[in-house]
């Protein structure tokens, strides 16, 4: 009796501190884990860190090396059917590519010039653009092509377009039918979705090494790796387009007795056309970003000068090539977007308009033929004019700027870099990488449990075990440190800017286009300016990672904030909440799911950039991967590094994904917006398109 009466009273009189701990139990648990970890680290620092010298090779690495040798042998001897088929495919791709190259960029003996030079190429591009995207896009496409030439990268640009184009055509040819099939079959969806999830969790470069083992290096390997990386978006978006067709229309047309074929051609494809083109846009942007990174395996195109410049310290070269990549990204993105919009308008054009368009197309076709003829027969229309030369002045300016930085202000950039490294990075790195490996592992396992629950724990344990087994624990932890610190900054940035955008439409309208543009850029180009400023080191890779990851994270938070129902906000306002309380007590907590998703995306984007940075000179796992391409006796270790990156990615992805799911469950309304954004995200991976797992 008395117990019943006193119990609630006791609860009411719990001290404020206890209340707080109970209310945010998980946060406090995390805090506790970190405190204990730091305490243990203080006494055990430097023990059992599993550090490995840069040139050491372990048994595990040797096993991987043997496996890769086996594949290479099989490839050269043709003893395995599968490897054989893969090689035939690669040969076929190679011949297609070479054929196109001979037309556009590479002279074929005895001709001193390619079949079609700049004039014909531009005319052809203009005609295609006009046909699919309308005349307005010409205003972007023609100057873009001219810019490629004037910047001095005509050949590399066209090569990159060819690599991207071949990959996109094959990706669409495979991906659209597969997406249609997925849209119709739950079984196929159940089988394909996890594969796509996995593929999109992979940072682009982890495909490079396995593909180069299987196919060697060069154009074919570059196209294949691009193809693999770029296919998921179009599959996923096509399936989504089919699945979300208006049920009423599907039912009504079914009631008229259409056959399956009629349903596909007369209803589904026309209705989903626009969505499918959006899928192609996403695939194209992913392909472009992969095709530039494929320079690491000797993929032709603009990635080459970027990489060369970075390697040789000729940053001006990288920068100019980077500009060309940016122009190409914008051109491809805008044109395909215009094409998707036009796909709807075109069918509605009135007859006069259609006739006009047909006439213009005819005239354009004739003009193109003339241009092709000229281009084939006259040097002036074939070889891109060498003046005006825009590339050289920019290159020199950038090189001068770099020199100036090095001599006159190096103290400033260096001090920024050292301060940050010493004050933030090193302490965290010391904790993570210099604790005994089992302490760090235990800490991460606990954090996983607290944030994401049992499933996250299992994934974490398995991934950490894998990293341990691959003998690159210490490098993995160094990479992980960069990722965590950079992501913390990304999330901070996302909260500040995201809240600002979420609360003000004007701010949103101003900032969003920049974020959109940022998302379409291949990651390589972020690296170049930071490289120029800070040189090749961990800090550079992190800053590039932050810039690369910020747009997606900011958008997620902004949309989460905006997604908090106006009713809730008004209710809070009417009870006298001030602005600060509104943000901290209503809007942020209610968009918790989006926040975790932003963290998830931030982690994966940053991871991929940090490793790319490592490949370009910032060390740790990225260095090992590159070493694998360059030095045949390090292939095994390179593979181990690649797999370690994958395992890190999966671990971070799972912890945050399950955490986000949990946040959704506990807070349904924000969960729904988060779930919605998950869906949107899945549909529109940025070029680097990491996990939306």
């Amino acid at each position: 009796m008395t117990a019943v009466v006193t119990a609630p009273r006791a609860a009411r009189h719990r001290p404020a501190v206890v209340e707080m701990v109970i209310e945010h139990a998980r946060l406090w648990a995390l805090f506790l884990v970190v405190v204990v970890w730091v305490a243990i680290w203080a006494v055990t620092q430097g023990q059992d860190t599993l550090a490995l010298s840069a040139s050491a090779i372990t048994d595990t690495h040797r096993q991987l090396q043997d496996a890769s040798n086996w594949v290479e042998d099989a490839a050269s001897s043709g003893s395995s059917v599968w490897v054989n088929a893969a090689n035939n495919f690669a040969d076929w791709i190679n011949s297609v590519f070479e054929w196109l190259q001979h037309i556009f960029t590479v002279p074929e003996f005895p001709r001193p010039l390619p079949q079609i030079g700049w004039l014909g190429t531009i005319a052809l591009a203009a005609l295609v653009t006009f046909a699919v995207a309308g005349w307005r896009s010409l205003l972007l496409v023609v100057p873009s092509f001219l810019a490629f030439g004037f910047l001095g990268y005509w050949t590399d640009s066209i090569d990159l377009l060819l690599v991207t184009g071949i990959a996109v055509v094959i990706a669409a040819a495979v991906g659209i039918p597969l997406g249609l099939w997925m849209g119709h079959s739950k079984v196929v969806t159940a089988i394909v979705t996890p594969v796509l999830d996995f593929m999109q969790t992979m940072p682009s470069f982890v495909y490079l090494l396995p593909i180069s083992i299987l196919f060697g290096i060069g154009a074919a390997a570059a196209i294949i790796v691009t193809l693999i990386y770029a296919t998921p978006p179009v599959v996923r978006i096509t399936a989504h387009g089919i699945r979300t067709l208006p049920a009423g229309v599907m039912e009504a047309t079914a009631s008229m007795g259409q056959s399956r074929r009629q349903r596909l051609t007369k209803v589904e494809l026309p209705l989903a056309k626009r969505t499918i083109i959006v899928g192609i846009n996403q695939t194209m942007m992913a392909a472009l970003s992969m095709a530039t990174i494929a320079a690491f395996i000797d993929g032709p195109g603009l990635g080459q000068p970027v990489l060369d410049g970075l390697k040789r310290g000729q940053l001006g070269t990288s920068f100019v090539a980077g500009i060309a990549i940016v122009i190409m990204a914008i051109m491809l993105d805008r044109t395909t977007t215009a094409a998707s919009v036009r796909s709807e308008q075109a069918s509605r054009a009135d007859q006069a308009h259609t006739a006009l368009r047909r006439g213009a197309l005819g005239a354009g076709a004739i003009g193109t033929l003339v241009a092709l003829y000229l281009s084939h027969n006259y040097v002036w229309a074939n070889e891109f004019p060498s003046s005006p030369d825009l590339g050289t002045p920019i290159r020199n300016k950038v090189d001068d700027f770099g020199q100036w930085l090095l001599t006159d202000v190096s103290s400033l950039t260096t001090s920024i870099e050292t301060t940050f490294t010493e004050k933030f990075l090193n302490p965290v790195q010391s904790l993570i990488a210099e604790s005994p490996w089992y302490v760090t592992a235990a800490a991460f396992a606990l954090i996983a449990v607290i944030v994401g629950g049992m499933r996250a724990f299992l994934f974490t344990v398995v991934c950490l075990a894998g990293i341990y087994y691959l003998d690159l624990w210490n490098f993995a932890m160094i990479t992980l440190t960069s990722v965590l610190v950079a992501t913390a900054i990304v999330v901070l940035l996302a909260v500040v800017v995201g809240v600002w955008m979420g609360r003000s439409r004007v701010v949103d309208r101003i900032i969003r286009p920049f974020l959109d543009a940022g998302q379409t850029m291949p990651p390589f180009v972020f690296l170049i300016p930071i490289f120029i400023l800070f040189g090749p080191n961990r800090f550079t890779a992190m800053v590039a990672g932050i810039i690369y990851a910020a747009p997606v994270a900011i958008k997620l938070v902004a949309d989460g904030i905006r997604g908090v129902s106006t009713e809730t906000v008004e209710a809070a306002e009417s009870s006298g909440t001030n602005k600060w309380q509104m943000i901290t007590k209503v809007q942020l907590p209610m968009s918790r799911g989006s926040l975790l998703l932003a963290t998830n995306q931030g982690l994966l984007y940053v991871l991929s950039m940090v490793v790319i940075g490592g490949m370009a000179g910032a060390g740790a796992l990225g260095f090992d991967i590159v070493h694998g391409f360059r030095n045949s006796s390090y292939v095994g270790r390179g593979l181990a590094a690649g797999i370690s990156v994958v395992l890190l990615g999966i671990m971070l992805d799972r912890i945050t994904t399950y955490g986000a799911e949990r946040a959704q469950r506990s807070q349904d309304s924000s969960g729904r917006t988060a779930a919605r954004w998950r869906k949107v995200l899945r549909l529109s991976p940025a070029p680097q398109g990491l996990a939306h797992g």
């Binding site: 009504a252 047309t253 079914a254 007795g257 259409q258 709807e344």
Partner: protein, 366 residues
């Protein structure tokens, strides 16, 4: 309106003729995994909620049988979730029935092959949907022609035919518009035209007008009545609006939780509701607008005056009221030259007054 028995009673058989337009026998639809295993077991008798709790399956249609005669307007009504849409979709297997039999024009639909089913949908049965289901990328004319197109009819021919039907539903001049350029009412006219274009034997309507505002709805109802007069098609019309049901229906089938609760002519349903559910449904209806003298007359007595006006038993009470009240003598109800009942002023007044006072389930003298 078709004939009615004096004794109100649910009749599943079509009122006339032998070659039926539509016959449905013990139709079941249960949504959920392994639904076919449930029918025939005691579980099938569980209430909808209990079944859901026990097996996770939802009953959409429960053991429904009825017949529809050619040219009849057959209305199905019931509250939201009572299974009307499911029932009507089972007729052409847009939803696959779990058990039971459907025959259209004597052809067994339940066991039809895919190509037979296509033929049925292309030539014999068309449907009009609540949310129109028009193809947004096609002009009105090509929406209307869609059914002809999937039959393989040539472009010129089908467009000519579609043009004709567009005129029939009063959309002249809108052939080249796109659906999103039309109002809801006009879009539904397109839906109607699309269904009519194939010249089907049976038209199915699933709450075609409930997305429209009341005025447009009335227009469209009149349109359907007009088309029925002109074309004489058999119609199965789903609605949850009793007014609409009474206005259009030759017979009305009332459903609850997937099962049939009453099947009868409009006046039977209003005058003799099978249970409280139906009574609730019909309580809002002004009875004098629906009921015929048959429902208010009493047995003739020897002392009845023989000077009152003579009327048929199928005269609507409201139409009879003025003449009946003007006369000093009670109305004589005659059928085939035989006096079958007497209606005095009292009976009429009671009905009209009850309506204006409180439209509730006051007993109706029958």
């Amino acid at each position: 309106m078709t004939q009615t028995e004096n004794r109100p009673q649910a009749e599943n058989a079509a009122p006339e003729g032998t070659d039926l337009a539509l016959r449905v026998e013990s139709l079941w639809k249960i949504f959920g995994p392994r639904a076919d295993k449930i029918i025939g077991t005691p579980d099938a008798d569980l209430s909808r909620a209990d079944l859901k709790r026990k097996t996770g399956c939802v009953v959409g249609v429960r053991d429904v049988s009825f017949e529809v005669a050619p040219g009849e307007v057959f209305v199905v009504m019931g509250l939201s979730g009572s299974g009307k849409s499911t029932l009507v979709r089972c007729l052409t297997r847009l939803i696959e029935p779990t058990a039971g039999k459907v025959e259209v024009g004597g052809v067994d639909v339940s066991n039809a092959s895919e190509s037979q089913l296509r033929d049925l949908r292309r030539h014999h049965v068309s449907m009009v949907f609540q949310h129109f289901g028009l193809l947004p990328h096609r002009q009105v004319i090509d929406n209307v022609a869609y059914g002809l197109e999937v039959r393989g009819m040539g472009r010129k021919e089908r467009r000519a035919k579609a043009e004709e039907v567009v005129g029939l539903v009063g959309l002249d001049g809108y052939e080249r518009s796109y659906p999103d350029q039309l109002s809801g009412g006009m879009q539904q006219r397109v839906g109607l035209a699309r269904a009519l274009a194939g010249d089907p034997d049976i038209l199915l309507f699933d709450e075609p007008f409930s997305a429209l505002d009341p005025l447009i709805r009335r227009d469209m109802q009149n349109e359907v009545i007009r088309l029925h007069h002109e074309l004489g098609k058999t119609m199965v019309f789903i609605t949850h609006d009793l007014q609409e049901a009474l206005k259009l229906g030759d017979r009305i089938l009332i459903m609850r939780d997937g099962a049939l609760v009453q099947l009868g002519t409009p006046d039977e349903v209003v005058a003799a509701p099978a249970d409280d559910y139906v009574r609730d449904f019909t309580s809002e209806v002004p009875r004098s607008h629906v009921l015929t003298l048959r429902w208010v007359m009493r047995e003739p007595r020897d002392d009845d005056s023989l000077e009152g006006p003579v009327m048929s038993p199928d005269t609507i009470v409201r139409q009879a009221a003025r003449a009946a009240l003007a006369s000093d003598h009670p109305v004589r109800v005659m059928e085939e030259g035989r006096l079958i009942g007497i209606v005095d002023d009292d009976a009429i007044l009671r009905m009209v007054v009850a309506e204006t006072d409180a439209p509730d389930e006051d007993g109706v003298p029958a």
